[in-house]
């Protein structure tokens, strides 16, 4: 899937650049990181610890913990983390 940003009668904050596993990426300042990753086509964010099955953002409201990633060295929920310029995001393996 690719989530996408509606354009019909919508204005957004300026796009900022951040880093995901070494790749530069852009998204509107303050957009939840989970949304920004989905809009870039990055759906699988980690693997489940027991089965190693691909997982991605599920509840989008801070409950399910499926979208956990590493940002600037900290384990965070992507859906509760606003995109800011210069974030260093690492996917996969945040929950061992």
């Amino acid at each position: 899937m690719t989530a996408w940003r509606a354009t019909k009668a919508v204005t957004r904050p300026a796009f900022v650049t951040f880093d995901v596993d070494g790749q530069a990426m852009t998204a509107p300042d303050g957009e939840p990181l989970s949304t920004a990753l989905a809009a870039a086509g990055l759906l699988g964010l980690r693997h489940s610890p027991r089965n190693g099955a691909p997982r991605g953002a599920f509840c989008h409201m801070g409950v399910c913990q499926e979208c956990v990633v590493t940002v600037d060295g900290r384990t965070v929920q992507a859906c509760l983390t606003p995109v800011r310029a210069g974030l260093a995001v690492r996917l996969g393996g945040a929950i061992p």
């Binding site: 899937m1 690719t2 989530a3 996408w4 940003r5 509606a6 354009t7 019909k8 009668a9 919508v10 204005t11 957004r12 904050p13 509107p28 300042d29 303050g30 957009e31 939840p32 949304t35 989905a38 809009a39 759906l43 699988g44 964010l45 489940s48 610890p49 027991r50 089965n51 099955a53 691909p54 997982r55 991605g56 953002a57 599920f58 509840c59 989008h60 409201m61 801070g62 409950v63 399910c64 913990q65 499926e66 956990v68 900290r74 384990t75 509760l80 929950i95």
Partner: protein, 475 residues
């Protein structure tokens, strides 16, 4: 430093904000806490800062009005706070942007809202499958569509709100699968007609869905979702009124997103961790704290209101919040009986006016036992720990009698979501396997931390020399 107040309100959705406002207007020193950065909860969530949308819905406008009242109120708002401990009579511990914080008051109003229930099916863990409520957040607060081609499925009015929202923003809905047949909705019509404004909103969604010629499969559920590393296809088949799959043609839809939800589960962690009395109420989403008409729980000084105390919807939650705030002020001696009764009367009237509508909606959103009974054995139920239905059944067969024993046997509910996503389904599976009611299998024993918190953040910065050494005990 512990911030002492007259009243702590946990959760700044419609219920919590109205509770805080009622308490503060009666003269209480109120602290209002929420995990999000702005008030509104999920239903009345504020759009992202800097996001401009030409047309605002009724929920956004109601949320704006509430946020303006709050801004004028002088209530101390502690937003962006993750409350990880509730204890004592009463103390909250929170993690905020500036580190650890603690709050104490003789009164606590729990208004922690609800989270979504998704009854598991094969493939529901694939990236690209998201909750209906999550889709609502994307659409309304972020103006983002979940996919290029979206299947919307599950039960309750949120289905049509999400489908219509996608169409309004120029997206494509591949299909809508509603577990309810048309007859079920016809039967609910008298209750829904008691709120003509909301019924009209629902009819507006239906018209836009009709206009977009989206296949509407009434009386259908998701059989399975398929894909390699992410969702590619869903298979939909007929179900009966109780949610059980029945014979008939299955239909396959290619899609890159599936928004699915089967109602809401009250997230009442504060009354649970304080060990207040609870009762199981299927219509209102599951286990809810026992309360009087004003929201007083079985523990003196503890109140619960909103969807976290039983699913009712945003507007009834606002009225219930007002009542809880007034009750707290009355119990604290700030309102005499006469002014308490006079101030409470309009909220009581509103609550009873909403009741038939809310009952019709919550009926559609209640857990369907036959749907749970039909979960295939190899389907993952606990997403965090990859525990399957077969493993839960095996634990019951091996002697687990309640949900906590089953957890110890299997690790189901032991992962980072702390059993929030699977708890209602896991308990239903244990009850069905044992052939007993939900009362007999209980709910997870709530413990701190209520949410994951990083230990280094909790401790803050300190030097070894700064650790106070207590004087040694006399010999």
């Amino acid at each position: 430093v512990i911030r002492k107040a007259d009243l702590l309100v946990l959760g700044a959705g419609p219920a919590g904000c109205h509770a805080a406002l009622a308490g503060a207007e009666a003269g209480l020193d109120v602290v209002l806490l929420d995990e999000q950065d702005t008030a509104g909860g999920q239903g009345w969530r504020a759009p992202l800062a800097g996001l401009g949308m030409a047309r605002k819905g009724a929920d956004a406008l109601a949320g704006d009005a509430m946020r303006q009242r709050l801004a004028r109120s002088g209530i101390e708002c502690r937003f962006g706070r993750r409350v990880w401990s509730v204890g004592g009579r009463f103390r909250l511990d929170a993690m905020g942007p500036d580190g650890a914080e603690a709050f104490e008051a003789e009164r606590l109003i729990a208004a922690t809202g609800a989270h979504e229930r998704v009854v598991p099916f094969p493939g529901w863990t694939l990236p690209g499958v998201i909750g209906l409520a999550g889709a609502t957040v994307l659409l309304k607060a972020q103006a983002v569509l979940p996919g290029k081609r979206v299947v919307v499925a599950g039960a309750g009015p949120l289905l049509f709100a999400v489908a219509a929202g996608i169409i309004a923003k120029g997206g494509e809905v591949a299909a809508i699968a509603d577990m309810d047949g048309r007859l079920a909705w016809m039967k609910r019509l008298p209750g829904l007609a008691r709120r003509l404004d909301l019924l009209r909103e629902g009819l507006g969604w239906s018209l836009s869905i009709l206009g977009a010629r989206v296949p509407l499969l009434a009386g259908h559920g998701i059989r399975r979702a398929l894909g390699e590393n992410q969702l590619e296809t869903v298979v939909i088949g007929p179900v009966d009124g109780a949610g059980a799959p029945v014979g008939g043609a299955e239909r396959t839809f290619d899609c890159d997103a599936l928004a699915i939800g089967h109602g809401l589960v009250p997230g009442g962690e504060a009354p649970k961790i304080l060990r207040a009395a609870h009762v199981f109420d299927r219509q209102r989403g599951g286990w809810v704290p026992t309360r009087d008409a004003y929201g007083r729980c079985s523990i003196a000084g503890l109140y619960a209101c909103g969807d976290g105390a039983g699913i009712a919807g945003a507007r009834p939650s606002a009225a219930a919040g007002t009542l809880a705030g007034l009750a707290a002020a009355h119990d604290a001696g700030r309102l005499n009986q006469a002014s308490f009764a006079a101030l409470a009367e309009p909220a009581i009237q509103q609550l009873s006016a909403y009741r038939p509508f809310a009952a019709a909606v919550t009926e559609a959103m209640a857990l369907r036992g036959a749907q749970v009974a039909a979960i295939p054995p190899e389907t993952v139920v606990c997403r965090c720990e990859d525990v399957t239905r077969a493993e839960i059944d095996a634990a019951v067969d091996a002697g687990a009698t309640d949900i906590n024993q089953m957890k110890h046997f299997t690790r189901c509910g032991m992962g980072p979501c702390q059993g929030r996503m699977c708890g209602d389904i896991a308990a239903e599976l244990v009850a069905q396997r044992r052939g007993v009611g939900r009362e007999a299998v209980g709910f997870w024993t709530q413990r701190v931390p209520l949410r994951p918190v990083a230990l280094d953040q909790l401790l803050g910065r300190f030097d070894y020399a700064d650790i106070p050494i207590p004087p040694p005990a006399p010999l």
